[in-house]
C-alpha cells in the first residue's frame, strides 16, 4: 500500500510524519465523533441527554434502551422489510446483470454495442425525473404501500454492474469461450462453468456495494410506504425521529439509528479491503 516518500533526510521525515500523524488522528476523532456520540446517547438516561455540563460517558449505561426499542417501535419489521428488499434485488439483479454482461462482452449479437450504449444513457437520467410517472404507474396497479415498487424495477439488472462486469470480461480471451462452445457446451453451461468463476470477485464487490446502496435508500421508500409494518428500516428511523423528538426520547432515536447502520458497518469492516479496492478501481476508471 504505502511507498517511501521521495528523498529527504530521515530525521526531517520523522518530524513531518509525526505532525501528520497527529493531524490525521485529530481528523479521525472528528470523523468518528458523531457516530460515537450516537452510541453513547443511546445508553444515556433522558436526564443525562440534556445535562449541562454534558455527560460524555453515561454513569449507568441504559442497555434497556436497546431492548425496549424492539417493542416500542417497528424496528423488527423494518429490518425484515429492508432485508427482503435489499436481498431480493441484489440476488436476482446480480444474476440478470452478469448474464447480460456475458452476452454483451463475449457473444455475437447484432447491434450489441448500440444496445449497451442505450442502456448507459439510462444512467444520465436522475431518479427524481422519473419518480412521479413511476409512482402513478405503480399506484394504478395497486402496488403503493407494498415493497414491490422498490423491488421489481431493479430485478432487471443494474447498469453500473453490467458496465463493470463487461469491462472485467474483456480481459478473458474469446478463444476460451469459443473452445468451450466447440466442445458442445451450451451457453448457460459456458456461463456457469467458465464465466461465473472468473468474474466472481467482481460480482461479489458490486453485490456488496449495491446491497449497501439499497439498504440505505430513503427517497423511494418514503414515497411508497405508508403503513408502519411495511416500512423499511430507514423510513422507520426517520419517522421515529419525528415522533419521539417531541417526547424528548433521544436515547431511543439514537439506539434505533445505530442499529440501522450497524449491519452495513459490520459488512464493511469484514470486507473493507475488497470494498475499498473496488471503489478505488471505480474512480480510477472515471
Amino acid at each position: 500500500m504505502s511507498r517511501k516518500t521521495p528523498m529527504g533526510t530521515t530525521a526531517q521525515n520523522r518530524v513531518v510524519n509525526t505532525i501528520l500523524f497527529v493531524v490525521l488522528a485529530l481528523g479521525a476523532v472528528v470523523m468518528i465523533a458523531p457516530l460515537l456520540w450516537m452510541a453513547t446517547t443511546a445508553l444515556k438516561t433522558k436526564a443525562e441527554v440534556f445535562a449541562l455540563p454534558p455527560v460524555w460517558i453515561p454513569d449507568a449505561p441504559q442497555w434497556d434502551t436497546f431492548v425496549r426499542m424492539w417493542t416500542e417501535a417497528p424496528i423488527l419489521s423494518g429490518f425484515k422489510n429492508s432485508i427482503i428488499v435489499a436481498g431480493t434485488v441484489t440476488i436476482v439483479g446480480s444474476i440478470t446483470s452478469s448474464l447480460a454482461a456475458f452476452a454483451l462482452a463475449k457473444m455475437r449479437l447484432p447491434f450489441k454495442n448500440a444496445i449497451f450504449l442505450g442502456l448507459l444513457t439510462g444512467l444520465m437520467i436522475p431518479f427524481p425525473t422519473l419518480m412521479i410517472p413511476q409512482f402513478v404507474m405503480f399506484s394504478k396497479i395497486g402496488w403503493v404501500d407494498t415493497l414491490l415498487p422498490l423491488i421489481v424495477p431493479l430485478l432487471f439488472g443494474n447498469i453500473v454492474m453490467i458496465f463493470f462486469l463487461r469491462q472485467y470480461l474483456s480481459s478473458v480471451p474469446d478463444s476460451m469461450v469459443e473452445a468451450a462452445k466447440i466442445d458442445g457446451a451450451s451457453y448457460l453451461q459456458v456461463f456457469r462453468k467458465m464465466i461465473f468463476p472468473l468474474i466472481r470477485p467482481a460480482i461479489a464487490a458490486q453485490f456488496i456495494l449495491w446491497f449497501m446502496t439499497i439498504w440505505n435508500d430513503y427517497l423511494a421508500p418514503i414515497l411508497y410506504l405508508n403503513t408502519e409494518s411495511k416500512q423499511t428500516l430507514q423510513v422507520v428511523i426517520a419517522n421515529l425521529n419525528v415522533e419521539y423528538a417531541t417526547q424528548r426520547d433521544y436515547p431511543l432515536i439514537m439506539a434505533a439509528s445505530f442499529v440501522a447502520l450497524l449491519p452495513i458497518l459490520v459488512v464493511f469492516l469484514i470486507f473493507q479491503r475488497q470494498i475499498i479496492e473496488s471503489v478505488a478501481l471505480t474512480g480510477a476508471k472515471g
Binding site: 458523531p34 450504449l117 427524481p128
Partner: protein
C-alpha cells in the same frame, strides 16, 4: 456436456467458428460449412438476446416510458388521479415566476460550495496518507466509515448534534468560549451546517480515489524531479496535481450530479424546508408539490428541468473528458 439447444450438432469435420475454409478445391463442403456456421450464429444470437432481454425490458418499462410520460406530463395540469389536461408550456412559464422554485434552485446551488472544500481536504488527506505513517490502514477505514453509513441515520444524529442547547457541535464550541447558534433554525447557518455534514460524509470517498490516483503515479517521476532540485511544493504542483486531474474531474461531475438531487438530509434535518424555506432543495420542493399538494404536472415540469441540468453536466463531462469516456471496442 450436453447441448440444450434444438439445433443440429455440427458434423465433427465442419470447420470451427472463426476458421475460414480454404477456397477453391471443394466448394460444396465450404458452402455446407458456411451454412452450419450461420446456423450456429443464429443460435448464439438467440441466446445472447435472451441474456440481455432483462435489462433492455427494464430500461424500456422503468426508464424510457416514465421519461416520455414525464415530458408529456410536464405539459399538463395533473393531480395524478384523473386524466392529465394539456396546458402547453404553462407549467414552465409558471416556474419562471415561482419564487420558491428560484429559492430552492439557489439553495441547491449553494450546497455545491461543499464540493471544492471537500475535494481540497480529501486531496490533502490523501497526500498525508500516502506517506509511511503508522496506522495508515486504520485511518483509511475510519475516514471511510461515514461514507457507508446510512444517510438517514447520519442526518438524524447531526440534526441532534446541531441542537442549539445540548448539541455536540455547540458543546465542542463552548470549550473555546464560543456560544454557538441554533444551527438549523437560523437562515444564516442552516445551509453551512448541512454543507459541513455533507463534506464530513463524503470526505472518505474522495480521499480514497485521490489516494488510488497518487499511488499510481510512477515513483521515478518524483525521483527525477528531486534530482533536478524540485522541492515538495514543486513536486505537488507539477506532478501530483496534474496526475490526479482525471479524478478531480470525475469527483466534481459526480458530486454535482448527486448534489443537484440532495434530499434526504434536508427532509430529515429540516422537515419544513428550514427557516423561511432556506434549506429546501429542488428535489425537496418537487416531492412536496407532487405528493403533498398533488400538483403532479407542475412537479414533473420541475423534475424535467432537474433532468436537463443533470444531462447538461453529463454531456459537458463527455466533451471535456474524452480520455475518460467509455470506449466501445
Amino acid at each position: 456436456m450436453s447441448r440444450t439447444t434444438a439445433e443440429p450438432t455440427p458434423v465433427p469435420t465442419a470447420p470451427a467458428a472463426g476458421i475460414v475454409p480454404p477456397d477453391g478445391d471443394d466448394r460444396g463442403s465450404a458452402l455446407h460449412a458456411r451454412q452450419a456456421m450461420r446456423r450456429l450464429h443464429r443460435t448464439e444470437h438467440r441466446w445472447a438476446a435472451a441474456f440481455v432481454a432483462a435489462p433492455v425490458i427494464g430500461f424500456l418499462v422503468f426508464t424510457l416510458y416514465p421519461l416520455g410520460y414525464a415530458l408529456y406530463a410536464s405539459l399538463t395540469r395533473w393531480n395524478g388521479l384523473t386524466a392529465p389536461q394539456f396546458i402547453g408550456l404553462d407549467n414552465y412559464a409558471a416556474l419562471l415566476g415561482d419564487e420558491y422554485f428560484r429559492k430552492t434552485l439557489w439553495n441547491t446551488a449553494f450546497y455545491m460550495i461543499g464540493i471544492p472544500i471537500g475535494l481540497v481536504l480529501a486531496l490533502l488527506l490523501a497526500i498525508a496518507l500516502n506517506r509511511k505513517i503508522p496506522g495508515q490502514t486504520a485511518f483509511r477505514t475510519i475516514y471511510y466509515v461515514p461514507v457507508i453509513s446510512s444517510l438517514a441515520a447520519i442526518a438524524i444524529v447531526w440534526q441532534f448534534a446541531y441542537n442549539g442547547d445540548f448539541g455536540l457541535v455547540n458543546q465542542v464550541l463552548s470549550w473555546f468560549g464560543i456560544d454557538g447558534p441554533d444551527w438549523l433554525q437560523n437562515t444564516a447557518t442552516v445551509k453551512p451546517a448541512i454543507i459541513l455534514m455533507a463534506v464530513w460524509k463524503g470526505l472518505g470517498y474522495s480521499m480514497l480515489l485521490y489516494l488510488a490516483a497518487i499511488q499510481s503515479v510512477p515513483r521515478s517521476l518524483y525521483e527525477a524531479a528531486s534530482l533536478d532540485g524540485a522541492n515538495g511544493y514543486h513536486r505537488f504542483r507539477w506532478i501530483t496535481l496534474p496526475m490526479v486531474r482525471p479524478v478531480t474531474f470525475f469527483l466534481v461531475v459526480t458530486n454535482v450530479i448527486a448534489g443537484s438531487q440532495i434530499f434526504t438530509e434536508i427532509n430529515i434535518m429540516t422537515p419544513t424546508g428550514g427557516p423561511e424555506f432556506s434549506s429546501a432543495s429542488i428535489v425537496y420542493y418537487i416531492v412536496r408539490k407532487a405528493f403533498k399538494y398533488q400538483q403532479m404536472g407542475y412537479a414533473t415540469a420541475m423534475a424535467v428541468v432537474l433532468g436537463l441540468i443533470v444531462l447538461v453536466v453529463t454531456l459537458i463531462q463527455f466533451r471535456l473528458n474524452r480520455r475518460n469516456s467509455f470506449s466501445i471496442d
